[in-house]
Protein backbone atom coordinates (compact mmCIF):
# COMPACT_ATOMS: atom_id res chain seq x y z
CA UNK A 1 0.00 0.00 0.00
CA UNK A 2 1.47 3.41 -0.94
CA UNK A 3 2.54 5.61 1.92
CA UNK A 4 1.86 9.32 1.61
CA UNK A 5 2.49 12.44 3.66
CA UNK A 6 -0.18 15.10 3.85
CA UNK A 7 -0.24 18.23 5.96
CA UNK A 8 -3.89 18.50 6.88
CA UNK A 9 -5.01 21.73 8.55
CA UNK A 10 -1.42 22.29 9.64
CA UNK A 11 -0.83 18.81 11.08
CA UNK A 12 1.55 16.46 9.23
CA UNK A 13 0.05 13.01 8.63
CA UNK A 14 1.87 9.89 7.46
CA UNK A 15 -0.71 7.58 5.98
CA UNK A 16 -0.88 4.21 4.27
CA UNK A 17 -3.61 4.51 1.66
CA UNK A 18 -4.85 2.17 -1.08
CA UNK A 19 -3.89 3.55 -4.49
CA UNK A 20 -7.56 3.77 -5.45
CA UNK A 21 -8.58 5.78 -2.36
CA UNK A 22 -10.00 9.21 -3.13
CA UNK A 23 -8.74 12.17 -1.14
CA UNK A 24 -12.24 12.78 0.23
CA UNK A 25 -12.44 9.25 1.61
CA UNK A 26 -9.09 9.57 3.37
CA UNK A 27 -10.16 12.89 4.90
CA UNK A 28 -13.51 11.56 6.07
CA UNK A 29 -12.85 7.92 6.91
CA UNK A 30 -9.21 7.86 7.97
CA UNK A 31 -8.86 11.30 9.52
CA UNK A 32 -12.51 11.63 10.65
CA UNK A 33 -12.78 15.10 9.10
CA UNK A 34 -16.41 14.68 8.10
CA UNK A 35 -17.01 18.38 7.46
CA UNK A 36 -16.02 17.72 3.85
CA UNK A 37 -19.16 16.28 2.28
CA UNK A 38 -19.68 13.88 -0.58
CA UNK A 39 -22.61 15.07 -2.66
CA UNK A 40 -22.74 13.83 -6.23
CA UNK A 41 -19.41 11.95 -6.29
CA UNK A 42 -19.22 12.89 -9.99
CA UNK A 43 -17.24 16.15 -9.62
CA UNK A 44 -20.22 18.34 -10.38
CA UNK A 45 -21.64 19.60 -7.06
CA UNK A 46 -18.53 20.84 -5.26
CA UNK A 47 -19.67 19.77 -1.74
CA UNK A 48 -16.29 18.03 -1.36
CA UNK A 49 -14.23 21.17 -2.13
CA UNK A 50 -11.01 21.48 -0.13
CA UNK A 51 -7.81 23.44 -0.71
CA UNK A 52 -4.78 21.62 -2.07
CA UNK A 53 -1.73 23.86 -1.71
CA UNK A 54 -4.04 26.82 -1.37
CA UNK A 55 -6.14 26.10 -4.46
CA UNK A 56 -9.70 24.81 -4.49
CA UNK A 57 -10.23 21.27 -5.74
CA UNK A 58 -12.97 18.66 -5.68
CA UNK A 59 -11.61 16.02 -3.32
CA UNK A 60 -13.88 13.34 -4.84
CA UNK A 61 -11.90 13.72 -8.08
CA UNK A 62 -8.38 13.53 -6.67
CA UNK A 63 -6.62 10.33 -5.67
CA UNK A 64 -5.09 10.59 -2.21
CA UNK A 65 -1.76 9.46 -3.71
CA UNK A 66 -1.87 12.40 -6.14
CA UNK A 67 -1.90 14.74 -3.13
CA UNK A 68 1.26 13.23 -1.63
CA UNK A 69 3.34 16.02 -0.10
CA UNK A 70 0.57 18.62 -0.34
CA UNK A 71 -0.90 21.03 2.20
CA UNK A 72 -4.62 20.30 2.57
CA UNK A 73 -7.10 22.65 4.20
CA UNK A 74 -10.61 21.47 5.01
CA UNK A 75 -13.54 23.35 6.51
CA UNK A 76 -12.33 22.23 9.97
CA UNK A 77 -9.06 24.09 9.39
CA UNK A 78 -10.53 27.50 8.63
CA UNK A 79 -11.35 28.84 12.07
CA UNK A 80 -8.70 29.82 14.55
CA UNK A 81 -9.56 28.55 18.01
CA UNK A 82 -13.12 29.54 18.79
CA UNK A 83 -13.12 32.34 16.23
CA UNK A 84 -14.81 31.58 12.94
CA UNK A 85 -13.10 32.52 9.67
CA UNK A 86 -14.59 35.80 8.31
CA UNK A 87 -16.21 33.81 5.47
CA UNK A 88 -17.84 31.39 7.92
CA UNK A 89 -19.05 34.35 9.97
CA UNK A 90 -20.49 35.97 6.84
CA UNK A 91 -22.38 32.78 5.92
CA UNK A 92 -23.82 32.73 9.45
CA UNK A 93 -24.77 36.40 9.40
CA UNK A 94 -26.46 36.19 5.99
CA UNK A 95 -27.98 32.78 6.57
CA UNK A 96 -26.06 31.65 3.49
CA UNK A 97 -27.49 28.16 3.72
CA UNK A 98 -30.73 26.27 3.87
CA UNK A 99 -30.15 22.57 4.56
CA UNK A 100 -26.41 23.17 4.98
CA UNK A 101 -25.17 20.21 2.96
CA UNK A 102 -23.36 22.25 0.31
CA UNK A 103 -22.09 24.83 2.83
CA UNK A 104 -18.59 23.49 3.59
CA UNK A 105 -17.84 23.26 -0.13
CA UNK A 106 -19.35 26.68 -0.79
CA UNK A 107 -17.22 28.25 1.94
CA UNK A 108 -14.01 26.55 0.81
CA UNK A 109 -14.67 27.58 -2.80
CA UNK A 110 -15.50 31.13 -1.69
CA UNK A 111 -12.34 31.52 0.40
CA UNK A 112 -10.15 30.43 -2.53
CA UNK A 113 -12.09 32.64 -4.92
CA UNK A 114 -11.68 35.73 -2.77
CA UNK A 115 -8.02 34.99 -2.03
CA UNK A 116 -7.49 35.05 -5.81
CA UNK A 117 -9.55 38.18 -6.39
CA UNK A 118 -10.05 40.25 -3.21
CA UNK A 119 -12.11 42.95 -4.95
CA UNK A 120 -14.55 40.47 -6.51
CA UNK A 121 -18.02 41.72 -7.53
CA UNK A 122 -21.38 39.97 -7.65
CA UNK A 123 -20.97 38.72 -11.22
CA UNK A 124 -17.54 37.39 -10.29
CA UNK A 125 -18.96 35.52 -7.31
CA UNK A 126 -21.74 33.96 -9.38
CA UNK A 127 -19.28 32.93 -12.09
CA UNK A 128 -16.73 31.74 -9.52
CA UNK A 129 -19.23 29.49 -7.75
CA UNK A 130 -20.16 27.64 -10.94
CA UNK A 131 -18.53 24.54 -9.53
CA UNK A 132 -20.76 24.46 -6.46
CA UNK A 133 -24.41 23.47 -6.50
CA UNK A 134 -27.01 24.21 -3.82
CA UNK A 135 -29.98 21.91 -4.25
CA UNK A 136 -32.07 24.15 -1.99
CA UNK A 137 -31.35 26.86 -4.61
CA UNK A 138 -30.42 29.26 -1.83
CA UNK A 139 -27.97 31.15 -3.98
CA UNK A 140 -29.15 34.67 -3.13
CA UNK A 141 -27.93 34.61 0.45
CA UNK A 142 -24.84 32.62 -0.48
CA UNK A 143 -23.78 35.33 -2.92
CA UNK A 144 -24.52 38.05 -0.34
CA UNK A 145 -22.46 36.13 2.23
CA UNK A 146 -19.49 35.72 -0.12
CA UNK A 147 -19.48 39.43 -0.99
CA UNK A 148 -19.62 40.36 2.69
CA UNK A 149 -17.05 37.70 3.56
CA UNK A 150 -14.75 39.14 0.88
CA UNK A 151 -14.92 42.58 2.51
CA UNK A 152 -14.36 41.04 5.95
CA UNK A 153 -11.36 39.05 4.69
CA UNK A 154 -9.76 42.26 3.42
CA UNK A 155 -10.45 44.06 6.70
CA UNK A 156 -9.09 41.22 8.81
CA UNK A 157 -6.02 41.06 6.57
CA UNK A 158 -5.46 44.80 6.92
CA UNK A 159 -6.05 44.62 10.66
CA UNK A 160 -4.05 41.51 11.33
Amino acid sequence: MPQITLTVNGTPQKLDVPANALLVDVLRDTLALTGTHIGCDTSQCGACTVHIDGRSAKSCTVLAVQADGAQITTIEGLQSGATLHPMQEAFRNHHGLQCGFCTPGMIMAAVALVADKPDIDEAGVRHGLEGNLCRCTGYQNIVAAVLDGARAMQTSKAGG
Binding site: A19, S43, S56, V62, L63, V65
Partner: protein, 266 residues
Protein backbone atom coordinates in the same frame (compact mmCIF):
# COMPACT_ATOMS: atom_id res chain seq x y z
CA UNK B 1 -19.02 4.16 -6.21
CA UNK B 2 -15.41 3.38 -5.55
CA UNK B 3 -12.72 2.97 -8.12
CA UNK B 4 -11.49 -0.50 -8.94
CA UNK B 5 -8.05 -1.34 -7.52
CA UNK B 6 -4.97 -0.72 -9.68
CA UNK B 7 -1.20 -0.59 -9.38
CA UNK B 8 0.03 2.96 -8.90
CA UNK B 9 3.32 4.16 -10.34
CA UNK B 10 4.77 7.64 -9.93
CA UNK B 11 7.78 7.94 -12.25
CA UNK B 12 10.17 10.88 -12.07
CA UNK B 13 11.06 11.11 -15.75
CA UNK B 14 9.49 10.43 -19.15
CA UNK B 15 11.60 7.39 -19.98
CA UNK B 16 10.64 5.75 -16.70
CA UNK B 17 6.98 6.54 -17.36
CA UNK B 18 7.16 4.97 -20.82
CA UNK B 19 8.88 1.90 -19.41
CA UNK B 20 6.21 1.53 -16.73
CA UNK B 21 3.55 1.78 -19.43
CA UNK B 22 5.18 -0.85 -21.60
CA UNK B 23 5.71 -3.17 -18.62
CA UNK B 24 1.95 -3.30 -18.07
CA UNK B 25 -0.44 -4.59 -20.67
CA UNK B 26 -3.19 -2.29 -19.55
CA UNK B 27 -2.09 1.07 -18.16
CA UNK B 28 -3.39 4.62 -18.24
CA UNK B 29 -1.47 7.81 -17.62
CA UNK B 30 -3.03 10.26 -15.18
CA UNK B 31 -2.39 13.99 -15.49
CA UNK B 32 -4.97 16.11 -13.61
CA UNK B 33 -7.46 13.26 -13.50
CA UNK B 34 -10.51 15.44 -14.07
CA UNK B 35 -11.75 13.15 -16.83
CA UNK B 36 -9.98 9.88 -16.06
CA UNK B 37 -11.19 9.60 -12.46
CA UNK B 38 -14.90 10.13 -13.27
CA UNK B 39 -14.52 7.65 -16.12
CA UNK B 40 -12.91 5.11 -13.78
CA UNK B 41 -15.70 5.61 -11.24
CA UNK B 42 -18.19 4.72 -13.96
CA UNK B 43 -16.05 1.67 -14.81
CA UNK B 44 -15.75 2.90 -18.38
CA UNK B 45 -12.01 2.55 -17.83
CA UNK B 46 -10.59 -0.15 -15.56
CA UNK B 47 -6.84 -0.01 -16.07
CA UNK B 48 -4.61 -2.48 -14.25
CA UNK B 49 -2.07 0.28 -13.67
CA UNK B 50 -2.24 4.05 -13.35
CA UNK B 51 0.94 5.98 -14.10
CA UNK B 52 0.96 9.42 -12.48
CA UNK B 53 2.71 12.06 -14.58
CA UNK B 54 2.58 14.48 -11.63
CA UNK B 55 6.02 13.53 -10.36
CA UNK B 56 7.90 14.32 -13.58
CA UNK B 57 9.83 17.59 -13.38
CA UNK B 58 9.65 20.04 -16.28
CA UNK B 59 6.23 19.05 -17.63
CA UNK B 60 4.43 22.15 -16.39
CA UNK B 61 4.99 25.81 -16.97
CA UNK B 62 4.74 28.33 -19.78
CA UNK B 63 7.59 29.94 -21.67
CA UNK B 64 8.13 32.10 -24.73
CA UNK B 65 10.52 30.82 -27.39
CA UNK B 66 10.99 33.10 -30.39
CA UNK B 67 7.56 33.57 -31.91
CA UNK B 68 6.02 30.65 -30.03
CA UNK B 69 4.36 30.11 -26.70
CA UNK B 70 5.30 26.75 -25.21
CA UNK B 71 2.86 25.32 -22.68
CA UNK B 72 3.96 22.28 -20.67
CA UNK B 73 1.56 19.35 -20.86
CA UNK B 74 0.92 19.33 -17.09
CA UNK B 75 0.09 23.05 -16.96
CA UNK B 76 -3.25 23.53 -15.23
CA UNK B 77 -6.07 25.40 -17.00
CA UNK B 78 -6.10 28.03 -14.23
CA UNK B 79 -2.42 28.77 -14.85
CA UNK B 80 -2.95 29.16 -18.60
CA UNK B 81 -5.85 31.53 -17.89
CA UNK B 82 -3.79 33.61 -15.43
CA UNK B 83 -0.43 33.60 -17.25
CA UNK B 84 0.84 37.09 -18.09
CA UNK B 85 2.66 35.70 -21.16
CA UNK B 86 -0.46 33.96 -22.49
CA UNK B 87 -2.64 37.02 -21.85
CA UNK B 88 -0.17 39.26 -23.64
CA UNK B 89 0.65 37.04 -26.63
CA UNK B 90 -2.50 34.92 -27.19
CA UNK B 91 -5.29 36.45 -25.08
CA UNK B 92 -7.82 34.19 -26.84
CA UNK B 93 -6.06 31.15 -25.37
CA UNK B 94 -6.15 32.59 -21.83
CA UNK B 95 -9.82 33.43 -22.33
CA UNK B 96 -10.58 29.90 -23.56
CA UNK B 97 -8.76 28.30 -20.60
CA UNK B 98 -10.81 30.41 -18.19
CA UNK B 99 -14.05 29.06 -19.69
CA UNK B 100 -13.26 25.38 -19.08
CA UNK B 101 -15.39 23.66 -16.42
CA UNK B 102 -15.31 25.53 -13.13
CA UNK B 103 -12.56 26.91 -10.86
CA UNK B 104 -11.95 23.60 -9.08
CA UNK B 105 -11.64 21.72 -12.37
CA UNK B 106 -9.36 24.43 -13.79
CA UNK B 107 -7.11 24.08 -10.74
CA UNK B 108 -6.53 20.38 -11.48
CA UNK B 109 -7.12 19.73 -15.18
CA UNK B 110 -4.18 19.97 -17.59
CA UNK B 111 -3.74 20.90 -21.24
CA UNK B 112 -1.97 17.65 -22.10
CA UNK B 113 -4.63 15.56 -20.41
CA UNK B 114 -7.41 17.33 -22.27
CA UNK B 115 -5.69 16.91 -25.64
CA UNK B 116 -4.82 13.25 -25.13
CA UNK B 117 -8.47 12.60 -24.27
CA UNK B 118 -9.77 14.60 -27.27
CA UNK B 119 -13.32 14.89 -26.00
CA UNK B 120 -15.44 16.17 -28.94
CA UNK B 121 -16.84 18.91 -26.68
CA UNK B 122 -13.60 20.01 -25.02
CA UNK B 123 -12.21 23.52 -25.57
CA UNK B 124 -8.48 22.92 -26.00
CA UNK B 125 -8.76 20.95 -29.27
CA UNK B 126 -10.26 24.11 -30.84
CA UNK B 127 -7.30 26.13 -29.55
CA UNK B 128 -4.69 23.71 -30.85
CA UNK B 129 -6.32 23.27 -34.27
CA UNK B 130 -7.49 26.87 -34.61
CA UNK B 131 -4.10 28.33 -33.71
CA UNK B 132 -2.14 25.78 -35.74
CA UNK B 133 -0.18 24.53 -32.72
CA UNK B 134 2.25 21.63 -32.62
CA UNK B 135 2.04 18.84 -30.06
CA UNK B 136 5.48 17.87 -28.73
CA UNK B 137 5.71 14.35 -27.35
CA UNK B 138 8.46 12.27 -25.75
CA UNK B 139 9.43 11.04 -29.22
CA UNK B 140 8.35 13.55 -31.93
CA UNK B 141 6.34 16.64 -32.94
CA UNK B 142 2.84 16.31 -34.34
CA UNK B 143 1.11 19.21 -36.11
CA UNK B 144 -2.44 19.98 -35.03
CA UNK B 145 -3.73 18.92 -38.45
CA UNK B 146 -2.24 15.46 -37.92
CA UNK B 147 -3.02 15.08 -34.22
CA UNK B 148 -6.80 14.76 -33.87
CA UNK B 149 -8.19 11.49 -35.17
CA UNK B 150 -11.91 11.34 -34.45
CA UNK B 151 -13.94 11.00 -31.25
CA UNK B 152 -11.71 10.54 -28.21
CA UNK B 153 -8.93 9.49 -30.58
CA UNK B 154 -5.56 10.99 -31.48
CA UNK B 155 -2.58 9.86 -33.51
CA UNK B 156 -0.55 9.41 -30.31
CA UNK B 157 0.98 5.97 -30.37
CA UNK B 158 0.43 3.45 -27.60
CA UNK B 159 2.34 4.78 -24.57
CA UNK B 160 3.43 8.05 -26.22
CA UNK B 161 3.40 11.01 -23.82
CA UNK B 162 2.66 14.67 -24.59
CA UNK B 163 5.46 16.86 -23.26
CA UNK B 164 4.30 20.31 -24.32
CA UNK B 165 2.28 22.23 -26.87
CA UNK B 166 3.87 24.92 -29.03
CA UNK B 167 1.55 27.72 -30.15
CA UNK B 168 2.75 30.09 -32.88
CA UNK B 169 1.79 33.60 -31.79
CA UNK B 170 -0.93 34.81 -34.21
CA UNK B 171 -1.53 38.39 -35.28
CA UNK B 172 -5.04 38.08 -33.91
CA UNK B 173 -7.25 35.33 -32.52
CA UNK B 174 -10.63 35.05 -30.83
CA UNK B 175 -12.59 32.20 -29.25
CA UNK B 176 -16.35 32.25 -28.99
CA UNK B 177 -18.15 29.57 -27.01
CA UNK B 178 -21.74 28.60 -26.37
CA UNK B 179 -21.39 26.55 -23.20
CA UNK B 180 -23.85 23.94 -22.05
CA UNK B 181 -25.35 25.72 -19.04
CA UNK B 182 -24.85 22.79 -16.64
CA UNK B 183 -21.63 21.09 -17.70
CA UNK B 184 -19.85 24.14 -19.22
CA UNK B 185 -18.69 21.88 -22.03
CA UNK B 186 -18.86 23.58 -25.42
CA UNK B 187 -22.17 22.98 -27.13
CA UNK B 188 -20.15 24.67 -29.85
CA UNK B 189 -16.91 26.63 -29.61
CA UNK B 190 -15.12 28.35 -32.49
CA UNK B 191 -11.52 29.58 -32.59
CA UNK B 192 -10.59 31.99 -35.38
CA UNK B 193 -7.00 33.07 -35.89
CA UNK B 194 -5.11 35.15 -38.39
CA UNK B 195 -1.40 34.67 -38.65
CA UNK B 196 0.54 32.91 -41.38
CA UNK B 197 -2.94 32.08 -42.69
CA UNK B 198 -6.51 32.14 -41.48
CA UNK B 199 -7.74 29.21 -39.41
CA UNK B 200 -11.25 28.48 -38.20
CA UNK B 201 -11.71 25.47 -35.90
CA UNK B 202 -14.95 24.29 -34.31
CA UNK B 203 -15.36 22.03 -31.29
CA UNK B 204 -18.46 20.56 -29.67
CA UNK B 205 -20.11 20.32 -33.06
CA UNK B 206 -18.65 17.69 -35.35
CA UNK B 207 -19.47 14.00 -35.17
CA UNK B 208 -15.79 13.29 -35.77
CA UNK B 209 -14.61 15.78 -33.15
CA UNK B 210 -12.86 19.10 -33.70
CA UNK B 211 -12.66 20.22 -37.35
CA UNK B 212 -11.54 23.12 -39.55
CA UNK B 213 -14.14 25.04 -41.52
CA UNK B 214 -12.18 25.36 -44.75
CA UNK B 215 -14.86 27.24 -46.69
CA UNK B 216 -14.82 30.00 -44.07
CA UNK B 217 -11.02 30.04 -44.00
CA UNK B 218 -10.91 30.60 -47.75
CA UNK B 219 -13.48 33.40 -47.59
CA UNK B 220 -11.71 35.10 -44.69
CA UNK B 221 -8.34 34.85 -46.39
CA UNK B 222 -9.73 37.06 -49.17
CA UNK B 223 -11.75 39.39 -46.94
CA UNK B 224 -11.30 39.18 -43.17
CA UNK B 225 -14.76 40.34 -42.16
CA UNK B 226 -17.85 38.83 -40.57
CA UNK B 227 -19.72 39.74 -43.76
CA UNK B 228 -17.42 37.55 -45.83
CA UNK B 229 -18.66 34.41 -44.07
CA UNK B 230 -22.32 35.35 -43.87
CA UNK B 231 -24.38 32.54 -45.35
CA UNK B 232 -21.55 30.02 -45.02
CA UNK B 233 -22.36 27.10 -42.82
CA UNK B 234 -21.61 23.45 -42.24
CA UNK B 235 -23.83 20.46 -42.96
CA UNK B 236 -26.21 19.59 -40.09
CA UNK B 237 -25.76 15.94 -41.10
CA UNK B 238 -22.13 16.04 -39.96
CA UNK B 239 -22.99 17.58 -36.58
CA UNK B 240 -23.52 15.90 -33.23
CA UNK B 241 -27.23 15.51 -32.51
CA UNK B 242 -28.16 14.63 -28.94
CA UNK B 243 -30.54 15.53 -26.10
CA UNK B 244 -28.80 18.90 -25.72
CA UNK B 245 -29.21 20.11 -29.31
CA UNK B 246 -30.06 18.77 -32.78
CA UNK B 247 -27.50 18.89 -35.57
CA UNK B 248 -29.13 21.86 -37.28
CA UNK B 249 -28.83 23.91 -34.10
CA UNK B 250 -25.13 23.17 -33.80
CA UNK B 251 -24.56 23.91 -37.50
CA UNK B 252 -26.28 27.27 -37.02
CA UNK B 253 -24.10 27.99 -33.97
CA UNK B 254 -20.89 27.29 -35.91
CA UNK B 255 -21.81 30.15 -38.27
CA UNK B 256 -22.98 32.51 -35.52
CA UNK B 257 -19.93 31.97 -33.32
CA UNK B 258 -17.47 32.19 -36.21
CA UNK B 259 -18.98 35.55 -37.24
CA UNK B 260 -18.84 36.79 -33.66
CA UNK B 261 -15.20 35.77 -33.36
CA UNK B 262 -14.29 37.55 -36.60
CA UNK B 263 -16.31 40.64 -35.58
CA UNK B 264 -14.43 40.72 -32.27
CA UNK B 265 -11.17 40.95 -34.22
CA UNK B 266 -12.18 43.74 -36.58
Amino acid sequence: MGIQAFDYVRPTDLAEARKAYEATGDARYIAGGQTLLPVMKQRLAQPAAVIDLGGIAGLSGIRVEGNALIVGAMTRHADVAASADVRRLIPALAHLAGLIGDPQVRNRGTMGGSLANNDPSADYPAAVLGLGATVLTDSRSITADDFFDGLFATTLEEGEIIRAISFPVPERAAYEKFPHPASRFALVGVMVSKGAGVRVAATGAGQAGVFRVSEMEAALAKDFSAKAIEGLSVSPDDMIADMHAPGAYRAQLVGVLARRAVAALQ
